[in-house]
């Protein structure tokens, strides 16, 4: 491939920061521009940890390997620097920020993207926010609510998608965005992701999920199976279907006996 990959993970190893507890045990993965890959795996396999490590979560320590984003190592970057570089993590458990409206939150996030003394134009911001809300079929009043405060599970995930729509990432990491959603909420969220992809086919997406059903709505180019901190199988969408038939148990045994 002549293009530099958007994301390249080589032999990545990581543990919980204050404990001697390895979680990622040598992960290899490569995503090109506009790719959609899914990582599936049982609970405790390390797939959520991978997403957090890629976003720079301070609770984990990288003990080996390398991660490059558009050719440059990102492991020494702070989470905010990774965000400014175009990486976005949609959280599995979005955090409540009482008293701060979504609009205010997004304005602060966009302001942080400007250089030096440049001030975000408030009218431009309003236009942009309304445009994004309309794209995702969301009420404008949604943006006036305090960030995730008192939100249902579905509302929290929609808020993640809205943030993604406003911040327009190059690489979106979606950490179990489908967990805890009923089928209607799942459709709304996956529709949102699909619309953003239509708008920007170059957006690269790494979907982390426990269930195959998300992949009924978002078509991946590749599916990887992660077990015990390693990718144990990679293939096309058919891998997800195999998993649905067989479950993860076969893979686990394979790792144990390997």
């Amino acid at each position: 491939m002549s293009d530099t990959p958007i994301l390249r993970i080589s032999d990545l190893r990581a543990k919980v920061a204050d404990e001697d507890l390895p979680i990622l045990k040598g992960v290899d993965l490569e995503l090109g521009r506009g790719d959609i890959h899914a990582i599936m795996g049982p609970n405790g396999s390390g797939k959520s940890t991978l997403a957090k490590v890629l976003a720079g979560h301070p609770g984990y320590e990288v003990t080996g390997g390398e991660v490059t984003y558009r050719g440059d190592s990102i492991l020494d970057l702070e989470p905010d620097e990774r965000s400014l570089a175009g990486i976005f993590l949609a959280f599995q458990y979005p955090v409540e920020i009482p008293g701060v409206s979504i609009a205010n939150f997004l304005r602060t996030a966009l302001q942080a993207r400007l250089q030096g003394d440049e001030e975000l134009d408030l009218f431009d911001f309003q236009d942009e926010l309304i445009d994004r809300l309309e794209l995702l079929d969301m009420e404008t009043s949604f943006a006036e609510r305090p960030v995730n405060d008192g939100f249902s599970g579905g509302e929290k995930k929609r808020n993640e998608i809205l943030q993604m729509a406003v911040l327009r990432p190059t690489l979106a990491l979606m950490d179990e965005t489908d967990s805890g959603l009923d089928i209607d909420a799942l459709k709304i969220v996956s529709n949102g992701v699909n619309k953003l992809r239509e708008e920007n086919p170059d957006m690269t997406v790494l979907l982390i999920t426990h269930y195959q059903r998300l992949l009924d709505y978002i078509q991946p180019d590749a599916v990887h199976v992660m077990v015990d901190g390693k990718i144990v199988r990679s293939g096309g969408p058919e891998v997800a279907l195999e998993l649905e038939d067989q479950g993860y148990s076969d893979w686990k045994e394979e790792v144990v006996t390997a």
Partner: protein, 471 residues
């Protein structure tokens, strides 16, 4: 700090009354407080005998009362009190120059976007200021409605009966050691009277008035809101108060007559060498509503508990406060509500933020007297800790003598969490921006009650405060 720079109370009017240099000079050589100092203050203000008597009596009470053994650490204050000048020669020109104002304060002014002329006034080094014009036009508007908004000295001179009827009745000298001290040596402050049924739309801004005088170290304010009247009074501003004084002890007395409605908003940001011990209390009569909105930033130690005495049926009292304790600061604040009549209601909402090794204490009293049937009170205090070294304590005192009363108390302590910070940082905000956003969100329920320009300034101030909080 040179002692002779303890300059206070520039009141040009006093020149008219033959206040001469030699006398002032005598004052300046006598630090500390004695009966003679009290007499001189009263004499210079050309006060009636009853006020002198009141001051002298208060002085004796002050000398007798021990230092409070609760609240913040006052051990160093005792030394300070022996050294300070309780009344200093007013002078036409401040000796302090702009060059003497610390750079940190200048920088803060600039970053708050305060024009230079205004900066100088705020720093106590300016003489001219456009607000004089604003003040005069407002004054005409108020005067046509019969509103009195004067210095406390003019209040005593020009409205002696009204003044005497209320002065010291809401907060008697004997209330506490510092109310006694204030009654003995008070100087500066406001006198406000809102006539029956007058609804003032423009807030009364002490800021405009005080700029022409210098804020007093022992300010005294008396506010009378007559039946059915409504007004909002705003004291202070969010810009840091630069003062070489290290002690501020004010007394604010407010009376609300039947069905009156009054809000008193204070935002104060003292320099961090300051002991700020203030007594503020409102007596709320039948059907009246009193609201305190109190913001405390800066100082070394602030002890301040705005109070509502609900003495008439159906009276309502509300106390909303924000305290911000940075490194080396202790904010010991809260509120007091006393229910002494049936169907009275009250609410206290207190929010504190502690940063570095800063400490904030919520101290509140809710008292329901026997016979105050159906009294309802709700207290909510929330503390936010920025660092592992920050501290908060809560001391809610509840005394209920009436069975048919409902009192609720809720307290929360939260710490800026790693997950919260990571969430905001993963959206591109720096740690400082993230902290400031979390703090702004935390105080939002109270900040939204502030006039817009104050809320904006407060937010900017918090951003500045968050700089260097990350370590």
């Amino acid at each position: 700090m040179p002692q002779n720079e303890l300059v206070q109370n520039l009141d040009l009017d006093e020149y008219k009354y033959g206040f001469v240099d030699e006398e002032a000079h005598v004052f300046r050589t006598t630090p500390g407080l004695d009966e003679d100092v009290v007499r001189q203050i009263s004499k210079h203000k050309e006060e009636p005998q009853w006020m002198l008597d009141l001051r002298l009596k208060a002085y004796k009470i002050y000398m007798k009362k021990p230092m409070p053994q609760w609240g913040g650490d006052l051990t160093q204050l005792e030394d300070t009190l022996d050294e300070i000048y309780f009344y200093v020669k007013p002078q036409e020109q401040m000796e302090r120059s702009w060059d003497d104002v610390p750079d940190k304060i200048k920088t803060t002014f600039e970053r708050l976007g305060i024009p230079e002329a205004e900066q100088k006034v705020l720093a106590g080094v300016g003489a001219q200021y456009e607000s004089e014009m604003v003040y005069h036009s407002l004054k005409e508007e108020w005067a046509s409605a019969g509103v009195i908004f004067d210095s406390i000295e003019d209040g005593l001179k020009n409205h002696p009966d009204l003044f005497r009827e209320h002065f010291g009745t809401i907060i008697p000298a004997a209330d506490n050691k510092f109310s006694a001290l204030n009654a003995a040596v008070w100087s500066g402050g406001s006198f406000v009277y809102i006539p029956k049924g007058v609804h003032l739309k423009t807030p009364l801004q002490a800021y405009f008035r005080v700029n022409q005088e210098r804020m007093g170290q022992f300010e005294r304010t008396l506010i009378i809101v007559d039946e059915g009247a409504q007004a909002h009074y705003i004291e202070g501003c969010t810009a840091p108060v630069y003062s070489t004084d290290s002690f501020h002890s004010g007394v604010i007395e407010i009376v609300l007559k039947k069905n009156a409605r009054f809000r008193y908003t204070t935002i104060q940001n003292w320099s961090n060498n300051m002991y700020n011990l203030v007594t503020q209390r409102a007596v709320v009569n039948e059907g009246a509503t009193m609201e305190w909105l109190d913001g405390n930033l800066g100082s070394k130690l602030t002890m301040k508990y705005p109070s509502c005495y609900l003495v008439g049926e159906g009276a309502h009292g509300s106390i909303m406060s924000i305290a911000y304790a940075a490194d080396g600061q202790h904010q010991d604040t809260g509120g007091k509500v006393v229910h002494a009549a049936p169907n009275t209601t009250s609410s206290i909402i207190s929010k504190s933020v502690s940063k570095g090794n800063g400490r904030s204490t919520y101290r509140g009293l809710c008292k329901v007297h026997e016979g105050a049937i159906n009294a309802r009170s709700n207290v909510e205090c929330d503390a936010l800790l920025i660092n592992d070294t920050s501290r908060t304590d809560t001391y809610p005192y509840i005394e209920i003598e009436e069975k048919r009363a409902t009192v609720g108390h809720e307290a929360t302590v939260s710490k800026v969490g790693d997950e919260q910070l990571f969430y905001l940082k993963s959206r591109g905000m720096s740690e400082e921006e993230a902290m400031a956003l979390i703090v702004r969100g935390f105080i939002e329920p109270i900040a939204k009650e502030l006039p817009l320009e104050y809320a904006v300034e407060l937010n900017r101030l918090i951003e500045l405060e968050m700089e260097g909080s990350v370590g």
